[in-house]
Amino acid sequence: MLELKGLEKKYGRNYTAVKKMDLTIREGEFFSILGPSGCGKTTLLRMIGGFETPSQGQIIYDGKRIDPLPANQRQFNMVFQRYALFPHLSVWENLAFGLKMKKVPEIDLRTRVNEALLMVKMESFAHRGIATLSGGQQQRIALARALVNRPRVLLLDEPLSALDLKLRQQMQVELLSIQRRLKHTFIFVTHDQEEALTLSDRIAVMNGGNVEQVGTPQEIYEYPKTPFVAQFIGQVNTIEGEVKEARPDTILVSGAARRVLMVKPSRDGQRPLPVALPGTPVKILVRPEKLKVLKSAPGPEQNAIEGTLREVLYQGAVTQLFVMPRDGSAPLIVSQPNTAVTARRSFNLGDKVFVAWLPEDCLLMGREAALPVAENSVSIAPPLLTVVGPPPESSGAALA
């Protein structure tokens, strides 16, 4: 188990790249650190690896403080963003480098290097020079060079960012299968939210040097705790308004055009209603795939906004529809899976339509930050496991 306690990194006197961070990473976990460029991900990873001295705080591994140790004395290995393979050594020598430093006997060294080459499917490249490898091959060698040392924790700094999409997806799968097999702890830095969602057991979302939320991909996606997390992970529609009335199970929000929208706790209880006094300025956040486009107004159990269909974008698996609300507020993005009946056939540009969604499928946040949640309402949440599964399917008339 790797624990970060109040870890902080200052550059110069008044720039803090990583702020008072507390984080626990479990043994054997695929843990991602996700955040926009410049939020401090690399800085955090470099502190864990021993390449950057923390300004404050502790790094504890297996109950022992490791932050005073230099990088060559930590049982961690790093895969660098630009691979950092030694250009003057062959593939084989690159892989053997770490083992030689640790004075592993020659016979062991051979078997381990061969194993590692096999693991990344590069056994026929052992005696090639680094400069003769393609980007994807270099990536594999960089991974193998770290893995051959059997690190307790493997640190990966955006290792796939230089690869094209196809290779990237292929490497994601391989990375995951290697991690599942070896059961090493992987700490994976990325700014690609899809990659983080696909690969991780848990994700820490960072912003401006802070961790905004730590959770499983489902928790992060379905139950973002802050507006930043909601907006950074996936697409989200934002509707601004003001709290009109707070009932025990529903909060009513009045939108700009005196439309009243309802917000209810999610059906699985994972997302309790926040505490919001009438008059509080709020945002309603709702994912594009939770919205439906209807030709007529839905029943009173659903939220609805009337508008004009502005754009239909066919994207293969889904179709995105842009609806301009009647009150002139920001267009709503609706994402509908493409079934046999495609959206294009059902709607024409300029049609008057209704965008509808269930009150359970949206989130209520303050304008800048999350709203507080009452303590007792958290306790009614069922255990974590029940969350795993398809998101609750909203009923109501779909396209047809």
Binding site: A71, N72, N77, F80, R82, A84, L85, H88, A131, Q138
Partner: protein, 268 residues
Amino acid sequence: MESMEKIRPRSPLIAKLMTAIAFLMLYVPLFALVIYSFLGPSAGPGSPQAWTLEWYRRILVNGEVLDAFNMSIYVGIWSTLVSTLLGTAAALAIERFRFPGRQLFDMITHVPLIMPEIVLGLALLIWFVVLRITLGPFSMILAHTTFSVSYVIITVKSRLQGFDDSLEEAAHDLGASPWQTFWKVTLPLIWPGVLSGALMAFTLSFDDFLITFFTAGVGSDTLPLKIYSMIKFGVSPEINALSTLMLGATLILVVFFFRPSKGAPTHA
């Protein structure tokens, strides 16, 4: 290759002419020197001069010339060693560390390149006298190191500028101590720069006249000094032969270090 040749515009006649003249001015004297070094004494007026290696033989048995040659090699090797060590260390310090006065230090390293040699020679002479350093091989080594080190710093620095720092971090990450990292990663990668710096230092030391002249003292002539003192008695075929040998040695060195560097790139 051929298609590339075709794209290039033809050079105008005047350019060709000027190139030819420049080459002529540069190489005809050298050529003459080489030719003369191989020409034997004429048997009498009217009879042609014959090809001979006589002058070379005389040079090679001339004890004073051999002493001067040994001195040149001795000074050259030591000043090369010292300036390569110092220069590489200085280049690493300038490129890797932030320390007060770094910029100034960086600038100062260029001074010997632009300073008139005679000024440097005189300054060194005065300095050695002040410090009571006996003029001789030791003072020459110090003097040669003073200017050679700049060249080493510049060649090593240019090699370090393309160096990917994460390579050293990677070595460290794989368990190498700072010392091991230097020997296994940093040095092999900057080696071409170090080598060409060293070759340049040796060539400069071997060929230097002015600064050596000021700092040599009595009885420790290097080859260039020896040639100069021989010229005082007139240009002899022996001098031509000796100069040709020096030319040859220098050419060999130059061919070595102007060869396109085949070292690995300093970044992956």
